[in-house]
Amino acid sequence: MNNGRLLAALLAAATVALVVIGTVWPARSAVAYATGKGLMDSSSTPQEAVTNLGEEIRSQAWEKAYAGLANKAQFTEPEFVHDLTGYYPSLLTYSTLDKFEVRPLHASADEAEIELKLYWATVVGSSVSKRDLHVIRNGDRWEPEWPIAKEPIVPPQVIAVNYLRWDVIYPSSGDDWGAQNVEAPHVRIVDMHPVERADGVVILGELLNEDVVPAYVSATATLLSKNEVPIATEGSFDKISHLLLPKQVTPFFIKFPNVSLSDVGSIRMTPMSALIAASADPVIEIENEHLHPAPEAFLTGQLVNQSGQIVNVAHVLGTFYNRAGQVVWVADEYIDTALLPQNPVPFEIHIPEDLARNVSSQRTVIATYSSGGSQ
């Protein structure tokens, strides 16, 4: 009993002591968060100036960040904020800056080039963007110039859109047993291939909607041991284009962490499909796709929204094939800016170097989301 009281008294004393220490001698990062000031005491070097800017962006101190820019006369504060968070609702609109990295590229007595790498925390994971900042000396201070990307201007025009849309009427609960129903779309797995990776097994494949109506699809795989005992079951989650129009094909990617392919006797695939109300628009063109070979191994291209409506989020899914036409890898990237009509937006999908050497061709599909739901 006495020991318990002694422990409680010690803990209380330690807590009070730590609170006092933290208040009297606060950590620099805590001061930065509490006061809105930068981590650096000054901007006496180019790195410090860019680091301060990064901290201000992270704490969304837009006014302070804008005030510290050398080229603020070239744009307004709202333009600066929209450049970072998007002019139209997009992934960045609902994200925060998780962390950033500062890397000096070049420096002289009066000016410097600094790379600022921003890691945004979005609803679909981390999104990385990179800006090269020109930093200039102004007296004893350094001030960064923000490389503003102004709002893309879509030329006034009329885009004829012949909306094609499917709606579904389901049977009501009052219908008798045996009354007519509309059945789920017919989908088929046209390719499936397991690949062993360092962190587990992945199942790659392609799913075809062979029906004449749109389908909401997903794929589930169950790994069975050599004794036909289930090892694990996983779904494709977002590594698939969930909306498939008639005769459309999507890749899928199902990951089984911490599983060895040598333990797997067979794989049970379960494609799921359901009727869904859908529209045939928007149409997205994938322009200038270029497969960069290993060791870098990535696919670049541009998305062009050929429709009149703004696409808020685009999901790029790349399927990579070997010479035999077999799926070698599936990779994806979310585009963090909105797709405006006729306005090209670049994308870059990375491929593991060891697999990239087997890649002979590729196919890219785009899943789009517009505000107000999947169109």
Binding site: G178, E183, L208, V212, L245, K247, Q306
Partner: protein, 290 residues
């Protein structure tokens, strides 16, 4: 001798139980079977008052009766088919018996399951129909009943089958025809019928063909009207993929058919090879030279 004795004792005991039960039933005269919904009667000999209970699946009747007469039950008293227990409770004793209520022989309703709701054209045995025959009280009619199936296709052809039910159900298979449209699938028993709609939809595109022409700074690519191998127009919304390969790069676009054709504008690249596909069907290739 020792082994026979238990056998003889058990046989005698069983006989005594059966005799006692027979004496219990002797008072009640029950019909062996009653058709669902029809009138029936039960004779209750003796004198005085008693209570008659009839209990079956989802249905129970209770009557105060005067013994020594016949109890009449009007039509509609028992409607659920199944095995029923009758119990006559006197002041000092009780008698029990049982009888069956069987479905009415006249069908009154059909449950018709037709699959699928959409079927590709030209598919042998692609359409199935199953019928369950019920009487007016929704009892499954177990007596063999003749069911006629009739599938009218958009081209006007009619497929007919006649199947006799077994244990209340009958089923058949039909072929989808070559022309897309709406099939009317009817099952009929006497004057009772039930209809279902089957959509015959086009198959995969056949001989997918595309042409290219320059329009300003763009290349206008358009397919011919896309049809399946039976000549049916592939429905609008079907995805056609155009791929333009040039200098090691490529551009692709998935376009939905509108008004029967797939049409898109892509950048002009001299020497580009342009191909078209829909699902797993490949179309022609065009090499673009200025």
């Amino acid at each position: 001798m020792r082994t026979r004795l238990p056998f003889l004792l058990s046989t005698m005991a069983l006989s005594m139980i059966q005799l006692a039960l027979a004496q219990d039933d002797r008072g009640l005269t029950l019909p062996k079977t009653v058709e669902a919904g029809s009138a029936f009667s039960i004779q209750c000999p003796g004198s005085g008052k008693a209570v008659l209970y009839i209990v079956g699946l989802g249905q129970a009747l209770k009557r105060d009766v005067e013994l020594g007469g016949t109890i009449f039950f009007p039509a509609g008293s028992l409607s659920n088919s199944g095995h029923y227990l009758a119990a006559l409770e006197r002041s000092s004793s009780a008698e029990t018996g049982s009888f069956d209520v069987v479905p009415a022989t006249k069908p009154a309703e059909l449950s018709f399951l037709a699959k699928p709701s959409r079927v590709p054209v030209g598919l042998q045995d692609g359409i199935t129909g199953a019928v369950y025959v019920f009487d007016v009280f929704r009892n499954l009619v177990a007596v063999p009943t003749s069911v006629s199936f009739e599938l009218s296709s958009p081209s006007g052809t009619v497929q007919k089958r006649t199947v006799t039910t077994r244990e209340g159900s009958a089923w058949t298979v039909m072929d989808s025809t070559a022309q897309q449209g709406i099939d009317r699938f009817v099952a009929r028993v006497d004057e009772i019928s039930s209809a279902r709609i089957i959509g015959q939809v086009p198959g995969d595109p056949c001989e997918l063909k595309m042409s290219a022409r320059q329009s300003g700074q763009k290349l206008l690519l358009a397919t011919d009207p896309v049809r399946d191998c039976n000549g049916n127009a592939v429905p609008d919304g079907t995805i056609v993929t155009f791929t333009e390969a040039y200098n090691g790069d490529q551009s692709t676009v998935d376009v939905p058919l509108k008004h029967g054709i797939g049409e898109v504008q892509m950048a002009v690249h001299n020497g580009a090879t342009i191909s078209v596909a829909s699902g797993i069907v490949l179309g022609n290739q065009v090499r673009w030279e200025k």
